[in-house]
């Protein structure tokens, strides 16, 4: 009973940290969030996404083919709250809070014997985790995927005692596959691992297990049909961010072979072959996710997953993480093998991409890492003075994080979340009636989707009006060239067109192109006063 009361208090704290000012911090929806929000709106109103596809299994979006479930989950929120920031972010926030309950339950099932303290510590450290809070406060897919994944593993554990829970487990595994591309690797391997690990404890012919497998497969049926129709779509953006798509290794191989000057091609092949170079690269990228500097000091360096001047964990976590990992190693519990597997498989999808370490793609690894911290903490929590000192350091760390996340980031790093696009879109929407055209020179930014989102543009009209490139840019994205009176120039520079402007048109020009020009009508600024866009007539 006492444990449940503490858990409720932890959930209350988690809810505050995740829901307070959800629409304002981070201070703009990121491009992917806006896209999902508008597509949810579009499906709600027309049954079709922005491209006109009826109830799509993969959302084409910017040509990156987003997994659909996070968008579908948004639909009831958009229906109730209207199309706004809260409707987009609430699903992640709510599932983020609920994942704490699942983590609590999962720890109890992995470490039987009333291990309430460990379970509570796990929930608590997840509740205050900068990484978990960041992902809960943004609709960047992975929180939804994490919720279904942890739920799948938890119900699998329960299924070992009561077969009917296998149905929930396999359903959750299937739903996780619809939530994030990484799970298309993680979930199948986890199922195989769990089936092998518990092969002696599972009644494979039980009704619960058989129905579970069938239910999971039925849920996956639309994806399988989609796979047969469009094989490329199933891996979506994962293809264009993969290390095999990147030219880095190929160029390095060419450079080494050229420098070798060996006459024997077999010998050259022996030393400089794809197997060695790619394996080495994958292992390097895999291990980079466990670099102390990334975890505890610097964090992710890619927008929007950055937290100013801190890692994705608190610095003090490093001590307890090491201690906890050792405690787990010396424990007799068989669950340590599950956690070791989780630790490895959760990072594999990220290690196969060329921007590493990536906190977004490796988010599922948060559970074993937080569990290590919790384990480390349980071993010192009996010493009162030490506990007080550690608690004090954690309070200071939390306050520092809150300052960085809620005050510093919105003020000084608004561009990380594309605040400038939101403000520009709002300005353009409010002034569009006066002009014949609104022209954006946007440097490959997806400004069009902000216009759609903040004007709540009629989805049916957009599906008919949009003029698209349907050709991927160097980063693998497709663009909208125009709709209604909005025109988006990605390849043209302001210097080249400013003397041949369209009549009665509003021009939105990024600072990188407009330089020192002063004859602008309006300046769109970041919250810290720095200019982002100049508006010209």
């Amino acid at each position: 009973m006492r444990a449940k009361i503490i858990l409720i208090l932890i959930l209350f704290l988690a809810a505050i940290l995740r829901i307070y000012y959800l629409n304002k911090i981070p201070n703009s929806l990121y491009t992917d969030e806006v896209s999902q929000g508008y597509n949810a709106f579009s499906i709600l109103k027309t049954g079709r996404d922005e491209h006109g596809s009826f109830l799509p299994v993969s959302l084409r979006s910017f040509g990156d083919w987003k997994p659909p479930l996070p968008t579908y989950i948004m639909i009831p929120f958009v229906f109730v709250l209207g199309l706004d920031e809260n409707a987009v972010r609430l699903p992640s926030a709510i599932l983020g809070i609920l994942s704490l309950v699942l983590a609590y339950q999962l720890v109890l099932s992995l470490f039987p014997g009333r291990n309430y303290k460990l379970a509570l510590f796990t929930s608590f450290f997840l509740a205050i985790s900068p990484w978990h809070i960041l992902q809960s406060r943004s609709a960047m897919l992975v929180m939804i995927a994490f919720f279904f994944y942890i739920s799948a593993v938890y119900y699998f554990q329960k299924g070992l005692h009561k077969n009917s829970f296998f149905i929930l487990s396999f359903l959750s595994f299937s739903l996780s596959i619809y939530s994030y591309y990484g799970l298309r690797i993680i979930a199948p391997f986890t199922i195989i691992f769990l089936l092998l690990f518990y092969r002696k404890n599972i009644n494979f012919l039980s009704r619960g297990f058989v129905f579970g497998v069938i239910a999971g497969l039925v849920i996956l049926l639309p994806l399988a049909i989609n796979l047969l129709q469009k094989p490329d779509v199933v891996l979506g953006r994962a293809k264009t961010v993969s290390i095999f798509y990147d030219q880095g290794i190929k160029l390095r191989k060419w450079e080494l072979i050229t420098k070798d000057g060996l006459a024997n091609p077999l010998l050259t092949q022996f030393f400089h072959n794809n197997y060695f170079l790619y394996t080495r690269d994958i292992v390097r990228r895999f291990l980079s996710h466990f670099d102390g500097k990334y975890l505890f000091l610097q964090g992710d360096t890619v927008d929007p997953f950055r937290i100013p001047s801190m890692g994705i964990f608190y610095l003090i976590d490093s001590l307890f993480l090491i201690l906890g990992a050792y405690k787990l190693y010396e424990s007799k519990s068989q669950s340590k093998y599950i956690l070791l597997f989780w630790l490895i498989i959760a990072v594999v999808p990220s290690a196969l991409t060329f921007i590493t370490p990536a906190s977004n793609r490796s988010f599922n690894v948060i559970f074993p890492l937080i569990l290590f911290i919790a384990l480390g903490m349980t071993s010192v929590s009996k010493r009162i003075i030490l506990s007080c000192a550690v608690s004090f350091i954690y309070i200071i760390s939390l306050v520092y994080f809150l300052n960085q996340f809620f005050i510093n980031m919105p003020l000084n790093h608004a561009d990380w979340w594309r605040y400038q696009l939101k403000e520009t879109a709002k300005y353009a929407i409010s002034h569009e009636k006066k002009y014949q055209n609104v022209v954006f020179l946007s440097n490959y930014e997806m400004t069009y989707v902000y216009i759609l989102f903040y004007s709540r543009y009629n989805p049916e009209r957009f599906q008919n009006e949009a003029v698209r490139t349907h050709v991927a840019d160097p980063f693998g994205f497709e663009h909208v060239e125009s709709f209604s009176k909005y025109i988006f120039y990605n390849d043209l520079n302001w210097k080249d067109i400013k003397d041949n402007r369209l009549p009665n048109s509003l021009y939105v020009v990024p600072l990188s192109q407009s330089g020192e020009e002063t004859d602008y009508t309006k300046l769109i600024n970041y919250p810290d006063g720095k200019a982002a866009f100049k508006i010209f007539l």
Binding site: L256, K259, D260, F271, F276, R280, V283, R284, L287, S288, F290, D291, G292, K293, F296, L297, L315, Y326, Y329, E330
Partner: protein
């Protein structure tokens, strides 16, 4: 049996340290030639000192042999053993000091030994920052940042940055395949309460982390015998748990391939890198 292994290790060390010693890496100053020779000799002796040290500390010949093997093949040890390196030469004296230290029980004798070691270190490694300047530590975060950098997987297994223009940048301190054994060895050392083995590491880490020349903290090189020992401990303990012969075979094949890859890079690409970086190299080595 162990003498045969030691003899093989000796032959391997001789060949790997002396083959093309004056041309790889390219020699920019003829006077360095003799210094390279002494470096190579001390480097080989260090390997055998480590063998004796581990054997005396753990009373286990197999771990001692494994440690010596790992040490002899470590990319960084090979690189430093073939150039005129203060760090490499001083490592020999450090191991000698540790060997005497464990043999002595008298406090006064140990104190005299410690003083003697620092005097030797002063002459063998005159550039060592503790003899010249104060540590640079403007902010505690810098200390932690440096620590994480030195212990990063990137530095340990992929890109050793401690000797940027002159070192072999394509590989780390050790081979990637040794990673699981390093972790396992570390956990086993703690599990067996053999903390003492790792005490010198703390001092070396501190010395490297607060070094004013960071990231070029060549002092970090002193950690190599302890890394070798930890890896050897891991290999030994893992094999004791009853590893399948097939696994041993695969591991042996893969580590051999990785070592061959290193030698290829060392003899073909490393000299090319050195020549192209010649303008950035201040002191000949």
């Amino acid at each position: 049996m162990r003498y045969y292994v030691l003899l093989l290790l000796f032959i391997f060390s001789l060949l790997s340290r002396f083959y093309l010693l004056n041309t790889v890496p390219p020699l920019f100053d003829a006077q360095i030639q003799i210094l390279r020779l002494s470096s190579a000799v001390l480097n080989i002796l260090s390997i055998f000192l480590l063998y004796i040290y581990v054997k005396k500390t753990l009373n286990n010949t197999k771990i001692a042999l494994l440690s010596a093997w790992v040490m002899a093949t470590l990319p960084w040890v090979l690189e430093q053993g073939r150039i005129y390196s203060y760090a490499s030469n001083s490592l020999f004296f450090l191991l000698l000091f540790l060997l005497f230290w464990i043999s002595l029980n008298n406090l006064l004798a140990r104190f005299i030994l410690l003083i003697s070691f620092f005097i030797t270190l002063y002459f063998s490694y005159p550039n060592l920052w503790i003899f010249k300047t104060m540590p640079v530590l403007d902010h505690p975060i810098i200390f932690i940042n440096n620590l994480f950098n030195l212990l990063s997987p990137d530095n340990l297994f992929f890109r050793n940055f401690t000797f940027w223009w002159g070192g072999v940048k394509e590989v780390g301190v050790m081979y990637i395949l040794l990673f699981p054994f390093l972790i396992f060895g570390l956990l086993e050392i703690i599990n067996h309460r053999r903390y003492k083995l790792l005490y010198p590491c703390l001092f070396i880490l501190f010395l490297s982390v607060v070094s004013p020349s960071f990231p070029e903290s060549r002092e970090f090189y002193f950690i190599t015998p302890f890394l070798a020992l930890t890896v050897a401990f891991g290999i030994y303990k893992l094999f004791l748990k009853g590893i399948q012969p097939l696994f041993i075979l695969i591991f042996t094949a893969l580590i051999t391939y990785e070592i061959i890859q290193f030698f290829h890079y060392y003899y073909i690409h490393y000299p090319q890198d050195i020549i192209s970086n010649k303008s950035n190299i201040k002191d000949p080595f």
